[in-house]
Symmetry: D2
Subunit: 359 residues, 4 copies
């Protein structure tokens, strides 16, 4: 594990829970080592989460032949080098999103890692919310018909404070602001649920005078399959704490979702006099991932989505099965970055930017 | 009254209800005459709604000196000529939205009518939803602080039927599709609540092969005051029947609204441990327009918003007071049309279109 | 019309709207006369609502052979005598709920009026909310299976003020407090949707020291068909303005409703992976009463339910058809009063009170 | 640990997560031994959850001096003997609810355990939902004023299947049906939030012909402090999967809650024009238990409430502080059982049953 803060906690918790919540686990996680820059902090994290050892130099992890999976939960600026090194050392790799700070860096990571043949997962964990997987399954089964619209927005509100200073506000460390932090999630689910994007017509906005990165992005988008819609993200939507909301309209039905109520999926399908949006509590025995959890109606939390996600990766490693399509690969990470870059370009050029993807 | 269909019913009902729901009314409405092309239909409408006479030629109304208010509820293509003629004959005028089929026609109507000195109201009735007026009052009072975001979408779903054939699908009669029909409402409330728009980056989409007008529009927008957001409208969002939804985020609070629950306004303001969005049932004695209606909690319907609207116009006529800012004037109708035209241009050019308004 | 206050306004508005919203109306309402005790007020009401004349003595109305329908919207204490007199004079009668101040008075009204052969409607208007009628139709069609539970509560909050003084707080004029005012509505819909009650185990509570009538009632109830549940009403539920909420659970489905969102019905039926409560916006062409109203999704208000109700009565008069089962007859008014009396008795005795109904 | 099924999983998960989610934990949990009747199952559970050893005889655990905390997650019929034995062996004890199968058994357990001086917790885990604790804190701070109403219902729907056969349907093993399983939770939160009950007027209903235990209970209740309301529980409310819903009305405000959205608390307090119920997402740094979890808006799941609960117990053991008032002691378990017994008695007698509590 690289990183001991927010994502370090989320991933460590997931590995520990996989050991008994998903039974039997595909592979039994062993928390070998954790790396981080601050010695006191990384030592504390090792003790807390039960890593066998800690280091302030990630090379120690990469060079350890006893480690088979490298999980990069560090800031965006340290995604590329350690992840590539770990893959080249033969370790399977997980990397937090966004994969790189821009499309070029993301492409480099993807190609370098893919060349090694290891499994790679870009940690777009929201694909592993049961309601999101159910949405995908409904769409795959044709229950929505032809998709006409996707409107997705990821709204948070903690950014409206000029005194805040984390790596997330430093252009060199983060690459971008609300775009890479939140917008990348919207782009990924748009791709996962609807398909690849064809163009973006976008604005990029920074409200606070001395902020280095964007506070919000707004985009009108087209998909390759003809669907149209909007993509937004902002850290300045007061009252929205983790409101990743999306809606999809198809020729046979619609879906709506809000991460603040992540156990629910709103589903509309044509019907008779009692048609309307159905609030599905996605917690039944026949719902995705629910074999790991509780009796129906006993909801899971945000942290539990990482259990679903990393279990998927362990299964892929154990069975040598594909991470795709349900897990985001580094190619998915790269493609999301292409869209994010196009949003930036469109914001600057004032033009609709067509998307093309490198292979 | 010109027109006996949907809007004819809505406006006639309003004039009849003003007579006793708003007591005493500023002016007592007298339903003198109704005009329409189909003789049998217009005769039936006159009998039904209680007009003293009917005609198949709107000139009969315009030339009647006993009529002081001309209400144009006809299709978009017959907005300009009768409305201008009525104003030039000294009658106050109401005209359904969109004012004209494009900005040029809207500008012509506005300037011609304004020159006569009569009162003019472009019937953007949603300004007269109590929750919308309350929103405006909260914003005017500074309770939201500086506005950062507006996201508005007007979603309906009746358009997904190739066999439909009304004037609303004929380019020459309607001017546009979801844009003028629904998008114009979004633009008007955006302007009413946030201010004038500065630019749009938009897509215009027609899904059905032989349809002459747009089925959907998607736009990323900037306001003159620096706020950014999205504007969308579509007639192909299955399950959304009249979902005019908007959200506004400011530096001190947020508002959210859905026309399908038009008696409610969601309000967020900073606070302590019990902060969150408050569902305000806008039906209290101290809420806008509520002196006309029922005890608290006894909600009003969509049709009742026209009572509020036309009462406002009668008050302006009776007192010779301004229709603006709460009523939409023909200038507001024109400005909305400029934004709609810019959306069309942006859709074609693939460029961000800056807005400029004629005076 | 007897009464010019809250219910006078609601009923007068309905008669005026029936004339053109329900087209053609079964009978064309003519507002002949209105009676009330306060001369100035009743004169004003006559002018406002368009009654041809007014009187301070209801006998003037009862003796007028030109009047065919007598609508009693006065306080509970003046329900019996004028209503009976009007029926005996051959007029059809509408009487506001509760029919009498207790079961004895209600029985007397019912029997005296029924003996005359006129049409009689006890104005439980909530049967004429489209969502409530739809609920009844779903239950009648067996879509809920065997009914297991009814839980109904009518919550308001305006009663928590010792200085309030209306007839509604005077025991002799009102008969009871939250029980007859709100609880009677719950009892009526329980009967309309589930069937007659078999027993009640109840509490009657007055919170304010000097109040003559109850502030709240709480009851555990059994129905003749074996269903069980609760019935509550209170005027001291802060934040609930007109929250008449009920839920029904059957062996095949469930329904839930809230009067503050009267255009919506929540429907659950067994299904596959997307089962859940469906929010049905009851505003479609194939929904009850919707032929009178607007396009789908354009909601109606509380006042509009009276249009649906009184239209039903006019239809029954015009066609000599039955008011029952969808309209509440005076027998329904009497039966609701029996349940209310049993609640009072149970509150006093501390025992489960079995119900029996006089024929 | 005694028991390896539903509650065994929930408690074991909690002990494992306490070790790193609550940092530093008051005591570091060590999972020493697990007991259960089925050898294969208990061996599997020991391996899965990481217990050092397993046994089919709970006496082995009680007699182990290395164990300081005994957690009884077994069926109701095995609550008394092992729990008392463990306490008498000097171990702190947790026992699942209901404490005993009736008030007598519960009283016996309480008194026997209390006499030993160990810490005892009756596992009413819903007290440890952050929203519930926040509700208690608001009430304690007087923000709701004098409490007038409590209406609580715990609705599930899995019981409508005659073929189901678990210990929960056997009268000798479970004691009661929906009453002890679900109703006891309602009674406990009623007591925790409002205070002790004074009387119940109740029905007990079994719908399925051959079922030994109740399917539903319905009660009108009075509290010692004068509040009144209803308590219901059922396993036959189709569509309600884990709907523990309650509402409290006070003279200054109201609260509403639904366990299916356990991260939210609806709060109403008097205010100005924007009054209404506020949806509080109980996930802020200043909210109860949130120091253990994630950034604001990143919700927790049902299973996480056990972490909060058992952390509280470990803190009480570590600091020798009181389990009460926030944790339910065995006295609380006994008092809830008195109320449940009174509901049964009232169902049989048809009378309002006054409550008295043994000391």
């Amino acid at each position: 594990m690289l990183g001991y803060a927010f994502m370090g906690k989320a991933h460590s918790n997931a590995f520990r829970k996989i050991a008994y919540m998903t039974w039997p686990p595909p592979l039994m996680p062993r928390l070998v080592a954790i790396a981080g820059r601050n010695e006191e902090a990384v030592r504390g994290a090792a003790e807390r989460y039960g890593y066998e050892r800690w280091t302030t130099d990630w090379h120690d992890i990469v060079s350890d032949p006893g480690i088979t999976l490298f999980d990069n939960g560090g800031p965006n600026a340290v995604h590329a080098e350690p992840t590539i090194a770990a893959a080249q050392a033969g370790k399977h790799v997980v990397c937090e999103k966004p994969l790189g700070r821009d499309a070029d860096e993301s492409y480099e990571i993807w190609k370098a890692v893919a060349a090694t043949g290891v499994k790679h997962l870009c940690a777009f964990n929201y694909r592993f919310v049961p309601a999101v997987r159910l949405a995908r399954e409904l769409i795959d089964a044709g229950e929505l018909g032809e998709i006409r619209h996707f409107r997705g927005r990821y709204l948070q509100d903690w950014g409206d404070d000029p005194s805040l200073d984390t790596w997330r506000f430093h252009a060199d460390e983060a690459g971008s602001g609300a775009l890479g932090d939140l917008g990348a999630h919207v782009v990924d689910l748009a791709r996962y649920l609807v398909g690849d994007l064809a163009s973006v017509s976008a604005l990029v906005k920074t409200f606070l005078p001395d902020r280095q990165v964007d506070d919000a992005i707004e985009a009108a988008v087209e998909f390759e399959n003809g669907a149209v819609g909007t993509i937004e993200s902002t850290r300045l939507a007061l009252g929205r704490r983790n409101a990743f909301q999306w809606e999809i309209n198809g020729s046979k039905g619609s879906l709506a979702f809000d991460m603040e109520r992540l156990n629910e999926l709103e589903v509309f399908r044509n019907g008779g006099r009692t048609r309307g949006f159905t609030r599905v509590l996605v917690s039944e025995a026949d719902h995705p991932f629910w074999e790991f959890w509780w009796p129906p109606g006993h909801i899971i939390g945000w942290g539990d989505t990482f259990v679903n996600e990393l279990h998927h990766l362990l299964r892929a490693i154990a069975d040598d099965s594909e991470v795709a399509p349900h897990g985001a690969t580094f190619e998915d990470g790269y493609r999301a970055a292409e869209v994010c870059d196009a949003i930036v370009r469109s914001g600057e050029s004032g033009k609709r930017e067509q998307l093309s993807y490198r292979s």
